[in-house]
């Protein structure tokens, strides 16, 4: 019944067995129509450095689960542990602050993390370089394209220096070409850092393109329905035949989950 952000004591960090541990988590919301169970007994581990996608149709509670892991809400039952500290969270909308420049948005995250003033600017420049936006430090949010905004948002999330990055359909609002490029960027950055990623999407191909492990949630209430380990070597492309093949298999299961709701 708790969300623990406790940073593990120095020295034990190397021996961490998980970046996130979700144990028997249930979540229900009470509304005017009575209590609604959104997540039912979900258990899931994310290993350090692992890339996991959570896949599900609408109503599977995948965003709710991410909010719980982020500590924005509390589970009704069960526990969530993130030993690497407060996880960073990226949204479908960039959620950058329009009153700050791209660079200052990143510096705010650094400042809130307690980074000394003199170190903030070079670190922000380094993170912008990492998302290949070296020249964007002084740019205002509205001067950036959708894809560039999401890259600045990624840099800001990385500025939190968390071991776990939560992503809530971060590329869903982008056009297909930009999304494809950002898949490549995310994979590259994930490989360059030792970040663990928990990525939520309803796009099966995106899930297979990115993840080492795909977790399918059923809908209403959300339960872990099935898991796949993706053995395809990176760099993958969304058009690759083996990506398509596994996507097809997963899609069949997803459709089966959705069909069950029409039978009542």
């Amino acid at each position: 019944m708790a969300t623990t952000f406790a940073k593990a004591a120095e020295g034990t960090v190397a021996e961490q067995t998980h970046a996130a541990r979700i144990e028997h988590v249930s979540k229900s919301f009470s509304g005017p129509a009575g209590t609604q169970l959104v997540l039912d007994d979900v258990s899931l581990d994310v290993a350090p450095g692992e890339f996991v996608t959570i896949l599900g149709a609408s109503g599977c509670g995948k965003s709710t689960l991410l909010n719980l892991v982020a500590g924005l809400d509390r589970p009704t039952q069960g526990s969530i542990e993130t030993p690497g500290g407060r996880p960073a969270l990226m949204f479908q909308e960039h959620a950058l602050f329009p009153w700050l420049t791209a660079g200052k948005n990143i510096e705010l995250a650094l400042r809130l993390r307690g980074v000394a003033k003199s170190e903030r600017r070079p670190e922000a420049e380094r993170l912008l370089e990492l998302v290949r936006l070296g020249g964007a430090y002084g740019k205002r949010v509205h001067e950036l394209s959708g894809g560039m905004r999401q890259r600045v948002a990624l840099a800001r999330a990385l500025a939190q220096d968390s071991q776990l990055l939560l992503m809530d359909e971060p590329f869903a609002a982008l056009d297909a070409i930009t999304r494809d490029v950002l898949h490549g960027e995310l994979t590259r950055i994930w490989e360059e850092t030792n970040l663990s990623v928990l990525f939520v999407t309803h796009n099966v191909r995106e899930a297979v393109r990115l993840a080492q492990r795909v977790v399918l949630l059923s809908s209403r209430p959300g339960r872990v329905a099935k898991e796949w380990t993706v053995g395809i070597e990176q760099p993958r492309r969304i058009e690759d035949a083996d990506v398509a093949e596994l996507s097809l298999e997963i899609t069949e299961h997803l459709r089966g989950e959705i069909r069950r709701h029409g039978q009542h």
Binding site: G71, E143, R156
Partner: protein
Amino acid sequence: MASTDTAATVKKDDLAGLEAGLDALDAVEIRRTPVREVLLKKVLPPTIAVALVLAVWQILVSAKITEETKLPAPSAVWDGLVDMWLQGTLLEVVWTSVSRGLAGFLLALAIGTPLGLLVARVKFVRAAIGPILSGLQSLPSVAWVPPAVLWFGLNDAMMFTVILLGAVPSIANGLVSGVDQVPPLFLRAGRTMGATGLKGTWHVVLPAALPGYLAGLKQGWAFSWRSLMAAEIIASSPDLGLGLGQLLENGRNNIDLPGVFLAILLILVVGIAIDLLIFSPLERWVLRSRGLLVK
């Protein structure tokens, strides 16, 4: 092994190039409006409107459609202005009122801002005084002049009281509506970065609420100025010095219609000038820097 390495490198370089191309294609171009266009579209129309009003005014007087005792000639008002300028009283009178108005406004700012923040962020305070605060906005501030005179007598304290009662609710309400309009996404983004409590207020809520707050300040200034004029007209006393409100009242007492018109025009011009010189540029700057300025 070497061949797959090259393949991967090529793929990566390819990605960088692709991304640079996309960024260039998608770049949003920000164009400043040239001065000529500003003059043509923003300055010319109001100038024409003012000229038209003056022309109609002059025609009404020249054609003797109205009596001179009801509507003074524009030239008579202009002569009054020149006289005041030559006597050296014009700037003094304007400054007496403007300095009073701005000081009162700054005081209202210092009180209205924390009050607004309290109402916006503390549920109990909002439930308790929120409705009263927005109700006060519809109370004409001239209503506060009689009690203020009884409390303080005819002095500056009475003037400031009237200004505060007029302007504080506007400023506080502006901040409240600014805070209410902060997108919940910003608050969530702030919380995931550790901006909670006072840090969240300082780094997220206040800057996000700035446009609404500025709109409140604009309205607060308008209310300050109106309240002050009401106070100056009703409560004139030699101790208070000659402000624009007293100038208007003196014109009435001396049955000096050009003087009355001059006072009204000066009050109007000062109110507009402060808005144009201080609040509008501030608001435009904030909106433009956020990409919110719609042309």
